[in-house]
Amino acid sequence: MMAKENGGILKWMAEYDRRYVYLVLFLVMVGPLLRPIGMPITVSPDTVQYYNVLQEVQPGDKIFFTLNTEFSGYNEIQSGIIATMRVLVEKHARVCFGVAHVEATIIPDLVIKAVQAEMTANDYQYGRDYVILGYIMPNEAAVAAGAENFHGVVTQDWLGRPIAGTFLDEITDWEDWDLITDFTTGICTGYIINHYALRGTPMIINCIGVSIASEKPYLDSGIIQGLLQSMRGGAELEFLIGHPGPGLTAMDGFSFGHYMLIIFILIGNVGYFGYTRQQQMKAATEGSKNG
């Protein structure tokens, strides 16, 4: 191996090509998808708190199902989105999809397909039980105006059909929603917190890993009532409702991805202390000798 000739394995561990990291990480994530193993999972208190809020939903409750995510974010939190929708349908809640990113306009269709069996079993009809509004939150002004005068901002659904005659006739402002379930990579979630949750509309959030530390203060201060965290939170919720889906099937690759990162860090530190630090000290002593 190249490393043996000029400085040994420790030098390689300190300075190996980062593309090894990319390739190995890719393989350990795709491998378990081809040959699933099935890992156990524990449920965190935050997920239980989120689940408990969903359990209090009553038949006929009006749910504002807001998608604050690009399509890429959907890959990470689709398990939480689908599991939440499944519970809402089993509770006979009435669901209104609203979107804050143009790429997410296609997600409601995917969610409905994923829970089609439950919706058919519960005789869900478009307009009466669920409505898809499309891109209604392009900016903070649109969120604030919708909170104060819903029909002043929203007049048609995502395919241009009037919303008059749907269950949204019962919505005037922020007070008329029984719960907001927000699925987010960031985008307009802060605006929904400021213009709905701050005024008292109950709200729970399923966020990507990046946003956990930013959303936790709102959970801890009681402004929102539940926080489901990233793909792992979605897998835990699937486990709680007893309906495995994309979250649980991803947990194998999830585990191996984490372990690969830990191994890379260990390799890096062994290389650092075993080689790089020695070189730095050698350079320092030579420098002081010549100095």
């Binding site: 980062r18 890993g209 990046v210 946003s211 956990i212 530390a213 930013s214």
Partner: protein, 240 residues
């Protein structure tokens, strides 16, 4: 709060702002780039006129003065968001003014402020592409950057540039703290911008912000003390 800002602006008393260590790192990075004869890349973010973008623009002005003095080439990638278009003319004006004030207006090249569209990921494609081609000595990425900051910082390290960044939200800061040679954490960037600028309003703002952080700490400590004695007066006051 508005009254406090107005008071400080009107008092004409120049507010003292401590020198943020990040500025020494920036000056060292530009100096080393000049020694190596390599260009400097400096960006101020992809947002519109926000608190963070203005901090990035103030630091851009400082870097432009340094590169004008040292004769290094300065490249300023712009774009990345719908609002970025409105900020771009101001960035052009800042760099041009810096080169004029240093007496080397002829070295100012508008083409070195490329606009990589209003799309975040097209902006990265352009930013990464120019880094891979020109192999800069240093990359100074402050202001309103979002998740693209990680792509840029890692590519900057790949091409061997000194990487100085700032993060405006915690998960970006955590990742950039590892990926960069130096990071301005949270509000160090706006504070650095105010330190560099002669604008009394910016300096007054930093003063007011410090006062409100002192107020937050004081209210917390008083509230905790009162609550420990069984009195929740502070909580009731805050709830009104």
């Amino acid at each position: 709060m508005a009254a406090l800002v107005y008071y400080y602006i009107k008092t004409k008393k120049v507010v003292h702002i401590r020198r943020v260590p990040g500025l020494d790192a920036i000056e060292e990075a530009v100096g080393r780039s000049a020694e190596m004869g390599k260009p400097v890349i400096c960006s101020f973010g992809i947002g519109g006129f926000t608190y963070w973008t203005l901090a990035g623009l103030a630091i851009l002005s400082h870097v432009a003065h340094l590169t004008a003095k040292t004769g290094s080439r300065l490249i300023v990638p712009t774009g990345g968001g719908d609002q970025a278009l409105i900020v771009r003319p101001v960035a052009e004006e800042i760099v041009k003014t810096a080169y004029t004030m240093e007496g080397v207006e002829d070295q100012y090249t508008p083409d070195d402020l490329p606009f990589y569209s209003g799309q975040q990921y097209a902006y990265i494609g352009g930013y990464v592409g120019v880094m891979q081609r020109v192999r800069p000595g240093s990359v100074i990425m402050t202001g309103s950057h979002a998740s693209e900051a990680m792509n840029i910082a890692e590519t900057s390290n790949t091409v061997g540039a000194i990487t100085i960044t700032s993060g405006s939200y915690i998960s970006n800061v955590a990742a950039l703290a590892c990926a960069s040679d130096y990071i301005l954490i949270g509000e160090e960037a706006p504070a650095a911008g105010a330190y560099l600028s002669d604008d009394p309003a910016q300096r007054a703002s930093i003063r007011v912000q410090d006062l409100f952080k002192w107020l937050a700490i004081a209210v917390m400590i008083l509230g905790l003390a009162a609550r420990s004695l069984g009195n929740d007066l502070m909580l009731r006051l805050l709830a009104t």
